[in-house]
Symmetry: D2
């Protein structure tokens, strides 16, 4: 069916790709061994270091995000290695399953999928691990299925508090470029990222940021690997090239997306997302609905998962919104299937896009007959305009 107007892509990624990023991708493919390519490669690599806030090495894979999960593990671990994971939600669970399939021995610390990683439990488990059989601690920074973030600096502190040598690996697929993240400062060993969320690109690129310690570990790691191997990447990347065919056209887009981010500034980007997240939660509260994340310190700036009232289908609601209002919302995943819907407010986004998004939710609730109070959008607008007025007043003062 033909639907007029712009689709509202408000899943928590892929996100809305800016026009100039799409147009950059829409340029003739070039020879990835030409003299000109090296410059492009160097700009992409150094730009990604800026995004990760790291001086360490960054790897860019011509593969979507799941690949970078695999890459982190196969480059640093050996069959049978024990890894400690935190089941903050569906994606943490998928990463756990992936580790199992690769022949690792993951242990998983549960949560109720409504909060961040349990740092005390991590510390406790590591304390018990006298023999240092646990080789890595794996945490999802922003759990895309729940809208709960985890305190990565806290996890680092927990590991250090017991003097455990495990590597710290962090999935930032839905936080990178949207929520404050600091690979070096927080002492992360491998950070995993993807192109299709905060970086405002189509899916197809993924990333590893790699500490010196992780790099050293890769010399010992025995899991078979070739496509994901860091070593040849590092060698070729020095001059901006890649050991095998890179995703040339997405790299064109990456460089332009990073330029956009540098114009706005990371701090401004993070603040923008926090503000939109707060406005969204105010709308949810006004509707009388419940935000899935129950611990405010773990609220996500990138997305908000909303619980459906008992007896109502989140998927039926999402279908109404999709068909009648031309907006895609995220579905409930795993144990949350049909019980929550997720509002993505990350990427290339602004106040009026958020207003349209929340309007779509409010109208959808009404059309779908979901019990709710009117006025969520109004609450969000009050907050957003109030913030602008306050900023303006401050600037004028």
């Amino acid at each position: 069916m033909h639907k007029p107007g712009r689709h509202f892509l408000q899943i928590p990624g892929p996100t809305n790709v800016p026009d100039d990023v799409l147009r950059a991708i829409d340029h003739p493919t070039m020879d990835h061994r030409s003299p000109e390519f090296g410059d492009l490669g160097l700009r992409a690599l150094s730009g990604m270091k800026w995004v990760f806030k790291t001086a360490a090495d960054v790897v860019i894979y011509p593969a979507s995000g799941t690949g970078a999960w695999e890459a982190a593990l196969v480059n640093t671990l050996s069959a049978g290695d024990r890894v400690l994971m935190c089941e903050t939600g569906h994606f943490a669970w998928l990463w756990h399953r992936l580790a199992t399939r690769l022949g690792l021995e993951p242990e998983i610390i549960p949560t109720d999928w409504r909060t961040g990683a349990d740092i005390a439990a991590i510390a406790e488990r590591l304390r018990q691990d006298d023999g240092h059989s646990i080789k890595a601690v794996c945490v999802v920074h922003n759990e895309t299925s729940t809208g709960c973030t985890s305190d990565i600096a806290g996890v680092r502190a927990a590991i250090d508090s017991v003097g455990h040598p495990a590597l710290l690996m962090v999935d930032t697929i839905s936080s990178l470029g949207s929520i404050d993240y600091r690979h070096d400062e927080w002492g992360v060993d491998v950070t995993i990222g993807g192109s299709q969320k905060g970086l405002m690109l189509p899916p197809g690129l993924s990333f590893n940021a790699v500490s010196a310690k992780a790099r050293a570990a890769s010399d010992q790691a025995a899991l078979p690997r070739s496509f994901w191997s860091w070593d040849e990447m590092f060698a070729a990347n020095r001059t901006g090239y890649f050991p095998y065919t890179p995703s040339t056209n997405l790299l064109y887009g990456l460089v332009v997306a990073i330029e956009r981010m540098q114009k706005e500034g990371l701090d401004a980007i993070f603040a923008r997302h926090q503000r939109h997240a707060e406005a969204t939660r105010r709308a949810v509260n006004a509707w009388g609905l419940e935000v899935l994340c129950r611990t405010p310190e773990h609220y996500s700036g990138a997305l908000t998962a909303v619980m459906m009232p008992e007896g109502h289908s989140a998927d039926a609601f999402r279908k109404v919104v999709h068909e009648r209002l031309n907006m895609s919302l995220g579905n409930g995943l795993g144990r949350l299937a049909n019980r929550v819907f997720r509002i993505g407010h990350l990427g290339d986004f602004n106040d009026l896009m958020l207003a349209g998004t929340l309007s779509g939710v409010e109208m959808g609730l009404k059309i779908a007959g979901v019990p709710h109070a009117r006025g969520g959008v109004g609450a969000a607008l009050d907050y957003l305009s109030g913030e602008i007025s306050a900023t303006a007043a401050k600037a004028a003062a």
Copy 2:
């Protein structure tokens, strides 16, 4: 300054151009004398007949809309000819000035710029014109400066009621493809259209639809003309070609835009715009502001002009909206300068885009300190969702 997210282009044209129309324009320019071009030309011409609801000839100019005004006059009239115009607003006034500059003798029937053309006055003036010195009656179908439409069938009836032979010329620049319009059924002699409004294209093309009577008049018309001449156009158009270089790439887009319109259907497009206009007026009323158009039968489906409260600057408000909320609204023109702002809700547009637009107005009013009641967006959402529910209920019944 870098502004994240999509700009809301909510002036009453140029409108938001759909992505596939932009991408069609973004194809290599072709030889406009090649065998392939004729097919493109024929598709564009027959598509435009469908848009105009005419079996008569349509001319496509490689020039923006003002040119089609001039074309209508120079092809049918001679120096010193008297034409009767209706000052429904700023654009009618500009057309009047253009006629004067071309050496015609326009008379203009005033309005207060808050309603449609005065049909009784037209009839009265023509009745007095015993000698048939008035050669044409010129009306703007949708006055872009005021958001008031005029009753074209009524104007036709008025002309006929006094048996006057004047040509009827209608400017549909901001109504064509947005508001119901019927060149043949309403007995219009020359209709003027442009690409950048309901046709969802960038500016750069304009149109004349030409009745047999107008065509006959062109044989006698003595105003000098060459670029705008219909005769060579008609001859070349028969096989899909043009007498001089056409705007090839915009024609690519035109054909795609018409395909989009045909998929949705003109009636559905018109209904969509009326619905958005009604939602907009409900928001305006809820804010306690006044719609400029004071006669409901003249309400425009394409735009709504809103009066600023006494003592407040519409331009200061628009500046806030532009700078803080990344939205362009239309300004007050001519005597309405700084006294109204105009909300465009035409072209490729949907409910959530409208919700974002109205949210921008509501937030802007608050930030700019314009007195208003809260709740305009809520009123619009209630109406929009109510309509959807009603439609769904009907479909289910």
Copy 3:
């Protein structure tokens, strides 16, 4: 029929549009009254002054090139004014016809369509015009139908030599940005340009460069005009805006095209075209065919018209080239119909594109059974590579 690979658009315009120009055009249309637009407008206007080599005013019309012909005349002349034109070919003849249709009294100095304008004849005719009834001299700088240029500085000198006050108007539609042209230095009053040739844009924009003398003439000129009027343009242009809707998206492209030209430099662009023209003529000579232009000082850098051997149809040959080799060549126009074909080598073009083009001609001659000697391409390659080697040797010395 599907044809693989890139079409060779080797007519003398529209020319091949560079990818980044097309992509610039493929951006959302903006509000042409927004604060941001003024900057775009100013960049376009100042860029065009650079292209015209003028400090005088430049007008940018949202209309294709024929419009700028009309604009030059209606802004400076009155009904019945006498103008002196030079029939260098089909386009000069069309301009003459346009002048007639506008109510002027053009006189035309013939040529055999194989050379440039007859400067001695111009001087002679002006000398006889004691009463200065001739108000303008109109010359086509590069006659697109013949591939003959005219000596504009020479025309200026001829006018001055007899102390005649006529305005000098020059059509540079197919030379601007391809062949050296100097509006100010050569004392031209109105220069006419178009977007779709050397400026590497799709058709849809056209230009007037206007001397102070022409501007003064416009105060007296009585031909009716509105769309083409310079006065409101000049007023609005001061801040980068336009009196009516401009062709926004083509202006995006224009700014990028000018940036490209500034990177390469006008002198380098002109030299590139002269080199390609010389290579083309060497190929034509090697084939044993005849270049239409018979006076080497008038050879065009933008295109080469080639005479068909007696008894052979140029159009049949062009059809073979189009159908079998996916290349468009220019046809013979007016009295040259079916007797010549034209090779465009202007715009965004390089050695290998020329080699492909000439290969297409050589293959087409063979396939179509046109008598010719083999080796035209080889002669061109020898010249082109010889030039490169000579340049490299010089640089190394």
Copy 4:
């Protein structure tokens, strides 16, 4: 340095991407879990079956081609498995190295890198393998480093002739969609493909076509895998979806590229490439240079590798061509480094693009001072035009 005109990307892939494929990629990213996506996925998957000439399953990876090599191995084999490979050139050698890194035990049958796989040696080796310790035979269909194809049907026959149960795996990265290939008819178990060659896409997608036998083998295969696992792919693909984020925008392009291929027809595409390859070899011979492939039955339709005269650097020559003539040619790889250059004539390509390409080589040879005879381009043009004339004569008869 700014270089005017279109770059000639004549490496043997990535190839020239057609404009409409690039424009398809340049559309907003969609929700890969939306109802609309399934249709896109199904079209991509069924289209790829048509390309592979298979009724079996096809996997589409959001990863560049090297990944599909790894996928073929990890899905079907276990650590320590013996595989028989054919060192037809650099890429075969890289695949061999990849197998080693994954913990397999590859044996490699050498060639002199100037011919196809040694089928007799394969048969002989398999005959000796009484215990069937060899689990797979791996062959590169078109060795991109040498321009030599291998006879896949012949390899199949060799395996069958000795009744060996090994899987047959074939790399078609640079042949798929360019050179006749038949997954089912030739009894291949796993075919590996990539997007950036005959499929006319940017790099970033890769493929496995999987026979029932290979699929059965995957149940036993013990190499760790997750990202590359076929099982979840097959499950999700049934409805057109993917188990993890696909490369949405490249899939848009894939569907359009396949439509282009279906319009032209695979047989026509293959014939076009053979014709261009023959023309290229005629040019090479006319220059007095030597085609690397010494066995005509292995000539590649996709690329031609050319040997440099003794004492001359292929890379110095390529640098001249790149800098002076704006064309990228392929370099010599591995043991062929600096000794050959490679001309890609695959993908979206036509006669005049080839003429431009060969002209660039001929001019480059002259500029770089490489000893050669003049006339290669002429020989190619004679062949190409002769073929067209012959076809036309046949059609007319």
